[in-house]
C-alpha cells in the first residue's frame, strides 16, 4: 500500500460522487465502484455511451449539477487521484485484519469475475429502490415500477408502451409522468393516492423550502402542457389483461384510505408505471455490522456509521432525494479525509451542506407522512393475488401463515411460505408481507448484496488494491 490513505466508495450516484470528490480533493486516493457502466446513479442516469445522445439533458433536471460532478470526477481520474470501477457489482464488504476494509465485487458480462478492493475507509452510497405494494394484476407484463420506466428511458432511450398510467404515491411520480410524456408516451393519467394539498398544511416546513414549492409549480406546469390529468386521492384497484396489461381500474379514496363506492372507472393503457415510495439499500451495511435506524443505515452528524471506518450517505441512510444525497456525500467526504489524515474534522467547513441536510430531512419527514400508502391498501389484496413475485406466494398463503400457523414475524412467515426466499431475497415483497400480516418490517439480513457464483466464493479474488 502507498502512503496515501485509501477510500472505497460504493455507488456513483449523487451521494457517492459528492463524497468521492470531496475526499479526493483533500488528498485521499479514491476507488469509486458502481454496478452501472457510467457514473450518475438513479437521478443522473445517462444514456448508454454507444447511443451517442447529443442532448441527454432533455431527459434531466439539474444538468449543471451533473456537469460539475462529471467534470470533477474526470479531472480526479485523469490526475490519478481516483479510479472509477464501472460495471462492478459489490456483493460483500468486510473488515479485514488491522482495521483495513475489503470490498468484494463481481465484474464481466456474466458477473463471474471476482475483484477485491482494499481500503482504509468505505463510504456506502448505494442509494435505494422503489417500493411497490401488490394489487390484483400487478404481475402482468406492462406493469413496471415508476422509477424503472424512467431508468429504462434515461439509460436505454426506450418507452415501455404507448399509453401509460403513472400511479401510486410520492414525489417521484411527477418526474416520471412528465419525462414519459416528453419522450412521446401518452400519459393517460397520473393517479396519486395522497392529497398533495396536505403538504401545504405543513406551512412551517414549506415556508423554509421555497425551492421545493417552485419545483412543485414547475411540474404542475409541465403536466398541464402535456395534458396529463391528475387524479389525487385515487388509486389503482386492479390491473387488467391476460398476458399483457390492457387497462386499469382506478377509484377515489376517502380519508380513511377506503375506496369510495361508485367511483371505479376503467382507463385503457398498455403500461402502468407504479410506485409507493422508496426503500434504502442496506445489505452492505448489514454485512459490515452497521446499526440500522428503522430501514436505513444509522449515521451521526459526520455521516459515520457505528462501525469504525465505515461512512454512509444518500438514500441508504434515509430517503430524501438528490440534493440531500449531495449534501450528505459532501459531508462524508470531508469527514473521511480529515479522519484518514488523523485530524479532527471541523464541521464549520461543511456548514452550508449541514444546513441543506437539516432542511431537507425536515421536508422529507413531512412529505413522508403525506405520501404514505393509503391505509386500506392491504384489504384490497385478494387472497389469490401473488405477493412474492419470485416464489409466487399468494396473499392467502401469507395470511394463512399468520392466521392458522401463528407466525409472528417476517422470518417465520418466510420459512413457512417461502415468501422472500427467491432471487430478490424479499427486497420486493417484504413491505407487503409486513403490511398484510401486521408483522414489523425489519431489514432482511441477506447474506450477500448480489448472487455470487460459487467459483468466485471458492477462488481467492484478485486484490485490486495491491495490483497498482
Amino acid at each position: 500500500m502507498t502512503g496515501q490513505p485509501r477510500l472505497a466508495v460504493v455507488g456513483a450516484g449523487p451521494a457517492g460522487l459528492a463524497g468521492a470528490l470531496a475526499a479526493a480533493a483533500r488528498g485521499v486516493h479514491v476507488t469509486l465502484i458502481d454496478a452501472a457502466d457510467q457514473a450518475g446513479g438513479q437521478f443522473f442516469r445517462q444514456p448508454a455511451t454507444a447511443l451517442r445522445a447529443r442532448r441527454p439533458q432533455a431527459l434531466h433536471h439539474q444538468w449543471r449539477a451533473w456537469q460539475r460532478l462529471r467534470d470533477g470526477l474526470e479531472r480526479h481520474v485523469t490526475e490519478g487521484r481516483t479510479e472509477h470501477l464501472a460495471g462492478h457489482h459489490v456483493w460483500c464488504a468486510e473488515r479485514g485484519s488491522a482495521g483495513s476494509l475489503m470490498v468484494h465485487a463481481l465484474r464481466g458480462a456474466a458477473q463471474d469475475e471476482g475483484v477485491a478492493v482494499r481500503a482504509d475507509a468505505v463510504l456506502l452510497a448505494t442509494g435505494g429502490y422503489e417500493q411497490v405494494l401488490p394489487f390484483p394484476g400487478w404481475t402482468l407484463p406492462g406493469v413496471v415500477t415508476a422509477g424503472g420506466a424512467q431508468a429504462m428511458l434515461k439509460g436505454g432511450l426506450v418507452l415501455p408502451g404507448r399509453t401509460v398510467v403513472v400511479a401510486g404515491t410520492g414525489p417521484l411520480l411527477l418526474p416520471v409522468a412528465t419525462g414519459l410524456a416528453a419522450a412521446g408516451a401518452r400519459v393517460a393519467a397520473l393517479v396519486e393516492s395522497a392529497d398533495p394539498r396536505e403538504l401545504l398544511r405543513r406551512a412551517p416546513v414549506l415556508a423554509s423550502q421555497p425551492g421545493k414549492l417552485a419545483e412543485g409549480a414547475w411540474y404542475a406546469g409541465l403536466l398541464l402542457r402535456h395534458r396529463v390529468r391528475t387524479l389525487a386521492r385515487h388509486t389503482v384497484v386492479e390491473a387488467h389483461g391476460t398476458d399483457r396489461l390492457e387497462g386499469v381500474t382506478v377509484a377515489a379514496l376517502d380519508r380513511g384510505g377506503r375506496v369510495r363506492p361508485g367511483t371505479a372507472r376503467r382507463i385503457d393503457c398498455d403500461t402502468l408505471a407504479v410506485g409507493h415510495g422508496m426503500l434504502p439499500h442496506t445489505d452492505l451495511a448489514e454485512t459490515l455490522g452497521c446499526t440500522l435506524a428503522g430501514m436505513a443505515v444509522r449515521v451521526d452528524g459526520e455521516q459515520r456509521t457505528d462501525v469504525p471506518g465505515v461512512w454512509a450517505a444518500g438514500e441508504s441512510t434515509g430517503i430524501g432525494g438528490a440534493a440531500l444525497a449531495l449534501a450528505e456525500g459532501h459531508i462524508a467526504g470531508r469527514s473521511i479525509a480529515a479522519r484518514l489524515h488523523g485530524t479532527e474534522p471541523d464541521p464549520r467547513g461543511w456548514a452550508p451542506a449541514a444546513r441543506t441536510r437539516a432542511r431537507l430531512r425536515t421536508f422529507f419527514a413531512a412529505a413522508d407522512s403525506v405520501y404514505a400508502p393509503p391505509a386500506g391498501w392491504a384489504d384490497r389484496v385478494g387472497d389469490d393475488t401473488v405477493v412474492c413475485r419470485c416464489e409466487e406466494v399468494t396473499a392467502g398463503e401469507i395470511r394463512g401463515a399468520v392466521g392458522s400457523l401463528g407466525a409472528g414475524d417476517l422470518r417465520t412467515v418466510k420459512l413457512l411460505t417461502r415468501a422472500g426466499m427467491g432471487w430478490c431475497q424479499g427486497r420486493v415483497c417484504a413491505p407487503a408481507v409486513a403490511g398484510l400480516t401486521g408483522c414489523p418490517l425489519n431489514p432482511g439480513r441477506r447474506p450477500f448484496a448480489r448472487p455470487v457464483p460459487l467459483g468466485v466464493l471458492a477462488a481467492l479474488p484478485v486484490d485490486h488494491g495491491e495490483k497498482d
Binding site: A35, D37, Q42, P47, A48, T49, A50, L51, R52, A53, R54, R55, P56, A58, L59, A109, A110, Y129, E130, V132, T139, P141, G142, V143, V144, T145, G147, G148, A149, Q150, A151, M152, L153, G155, G156, L157, V158, L159, P160, G161, A182, A183, G184, D243, R244, R389, C390, E391, E392, G422, W423, C424, R427, V428
Partner: protein
C-alpha cells in the same frame, strides 16, 4: 417525438440478435431489455410455478423478474445485460436450467 429524437441520439448502425429464433433489431449500448422493448416484446420469462409471463419490473436489477437466457446462459437480468451483435436470446422457462 420518441426518446431517441428527444435526446438527439445518433447511435451506430443497428445490428441483429435473435429472440426465440426470430430476428430482432438492436441498438449498440442498449440492454437486452431495452432492445426487446423496442421490438415490442414485453414478456420473456414464464414463472416456475404457474407459468405466468414476466418481463421488466424494477428496471434497475433489484427484482429479478426480467431473467432471460442469453447465449445459453440462463438467469441473466435483461435490464442489466448489454445486448451484443449476434446474441441468441431465449425466453426463460421456470429456472432456465433445462431449456438449453
Amino acid at each position: 417525438m420518441n426518446p431517441l429524437e428527444l435526446a438527439d441520439a445518433r447511435p451506430g448502425p443497428a445490428f441483429t440478435v435473435t429472440f426465440d429464433g426470430r430476428a430482432v433489431d438492436a441498438l449498440p449500448g442498449q440492454t437486452v431489455a431495452a432492445a426487446l422493448w423496442t421490438a415490442g416484446v414485453t414478456a420473456w420469462r414464464s414463472t416456475r410455478g404457474s407459468g405466468r409471463p414476466r418481463g421488466v419490473f424494477c428496471g434497475i436489477g433489484v427484482c429479478f423478474d426480467c431473467l432471460v437466457t442469453v447465449n445459453g446462459v440462463p438467469n441473466q437480468r435483461a435490464c442489466l445485460v448489454p445486448v451484443r451483435p449476434g446474441d441468441v436470446i431465449r425466453a426463460q422457462e421456470g429456472t432456465g436450467g433445462t431449456n438449453d
